[in-house]
Symmetry: none
Subunit: 366 residues, 2 copies
Amino acid sequence: MQQLRPSNCMLGSSSIIRRQHFLIRVLGCSSNNQTHHHQYRMNSMICGSGLEADALGILRSVTPALDPSRYKGQAGKIAVIGGCREYTGAPYFSAISALKIGADLSHVFCTKDAAPVIKSYSPELIVHPILEESYSVRDEDKRSISDNVLAEVAKWMERFDCLVVGPGLGRDPFLLDCVSNIMKHARQSNVPIVIDGDGLFLVTNCLDLVSGYPLAILTPNVNEYKRLVQKVLNHEVNDEDAPQQLLSLAKRIGGVTILRKGKSDLISDGETVRSVSMYGSPRRCGGQGDILSGSVAVFVSWARQYISSGKGESAMNPMILGCIAGSALMRKAASLAFENKRRSTLTGDIIECLGRSLEEICPVSC
Amino acid sequence: MQQLRPSNCMLGSSSIIRRQHFLIRVLGCSSNNQTHHHQYRMNSMICGSGLEADALGILRSVTPALDPSRYKGQAGKIAVIGGCREYTGAPYFSAISALKIGADLSHVFCTKDAAPVIKSYSPELIVHPILEESYSVRDEDKRSISDNVLAEVAKWMERFDCLVVGPGLGRDPFLLDCVSNIMKHARQSNVPIVIDGDGLFLVTNCLDLVSGYPLAILTPNVNEYKRLVQKVLNHEVNDEDAPQQLLSLAKRIGGVTILRKGKSDLISDGETVRSVSMYGSPRRCGGQGDILSGSVAVFVSWARQYISSGKGESAMNPMILGCIAGSALMRKAASLAFENKRRSTLTGDIIECLGRSLEEICPVSC
């Protein structure tokens, strides 16, 4: 049987004077480590409605006040690693979403072919054409190019509050090698990494990249989750007991945070499981996962600031808070866009609703 | 005399509880195969108002319900083969129309020159820069490049619900050779193919590509239709008896479906003839045919799901249903755009009306 450690239940208190209340109401006796008690709590947590996070309360708590005395960068500097000859939309969606939610700077590190196209989508982004795919690289040059790629990203690394790895990355082996190096460097620098899309393909085949790194967040969709479960748990996906399986998976990868996307989003760090079911839209156009990765990146940055400033309870995992807030905002924006555009809703329409959604949940004046 | 087999008349019943009623009301005794009876039915079908399809009823029937438990891709994955150094607008119009109608993913396979431009029109599309034109290819490389092009498309083929071949394809002989190979592969994979524009130029000169393939749809305009009739029937276009000639043409090409665009759109698979005359606009700006090809691709995908799920009568040809629904939606969007923009109506204005048109005909909640 899965060993369960005590876990705090993340039911945030929604309050006008936010940042002054604890987010987490500890259910039962969290310091009691008798196994039967844990099992009782686990059962109530994963079977009942108690699984649902107070997503709006969390979102309001971690979103920083806007203060004219703050300067550029303090509200978040995000970098997206992705964009290749084939894919350019995904990194754009992720990076622009981060800005629309309130990050101050959003970078994209992509291949040389992808850069002019991504730049053309928006002058708001900073796009670095540094990655290379195998077709444009001779074998004898690979080592030096790989070193250069890492050096180019490394000189920026300390400035980033969060990395998103994967949107439109593609699966070129040489490119993925370079991205592995970037991830190792980010890890050494203690920069959180949100991993989606082809980044999950990379990580599923090389779990060491994230295993045991508490600042890693995986955001798999139904197919990506299936591959991850098969690889890590050597098992099929169990929808009957989805929260327990997700918890086991996150624990097995050494406490990374996993946001399993679906009709409800399920989130676990191997210690606790929470779900976000509010809002949402039945439209499944490609690109929505990219909004989510950008959104989670911003809220993870904010949640870490929130926790480190001593406003929240230190036992709270800011990765979980960031996932809950990011999921809630994305779902709200998707529902607003769908109300208006119905079947013709595209990812760009949802991005246009991010600002209004955030303002409705968490007005600037509050 | 043309042999006529019994054909079901596609007068769909419009109903609030759609998908539970048969679309086709069999006129007369469809199992009666006495020749005079067929001739009587054929005459009534092609001369009277009975030719007009219940396009709105069909559109409502085949459009799938939106269900939050569905995941990305289930509402349709479309690929457009087209876009070259000269033409980039046409494949964009076709592919973006598919998304705006409700497909989940829309790909474009085009030349390397065309790709950055098509990508820059919208980050919503997945654009593959894989085709080559003669000017950029040495004779000794043609074989290997042709193989690579096919391999690149082939690895995606199984995932596509429908291909659109032709928008902005151009007429470069080497490129058309590569596209012939793609069409052969699609046919082996039983993927429906909507053929328009320069795809019709290719097919008219090489009828074997589609002859006898029941999942092929040709969407000729007046000039393309004229060339097709001359080539296949060795005859001039006969506007006096247009439905009969269209029926003969479709039958002679082995039961492909033909959508003859005009003031009224006429549709036949060699078994039946239907027309769509509702809505429409007097504006004839270029690009409207591209919207239609993308629209037909989505509705054909949906109509096949609808029939294979047992909701419709199995005798119905989903190609015909898809053409009728695609034509009706396009005509409605064109009429809405024209109401607003009058002589200045452009193709992009019509695309912006696709979502509202679909919602007015078939509201999401219904």
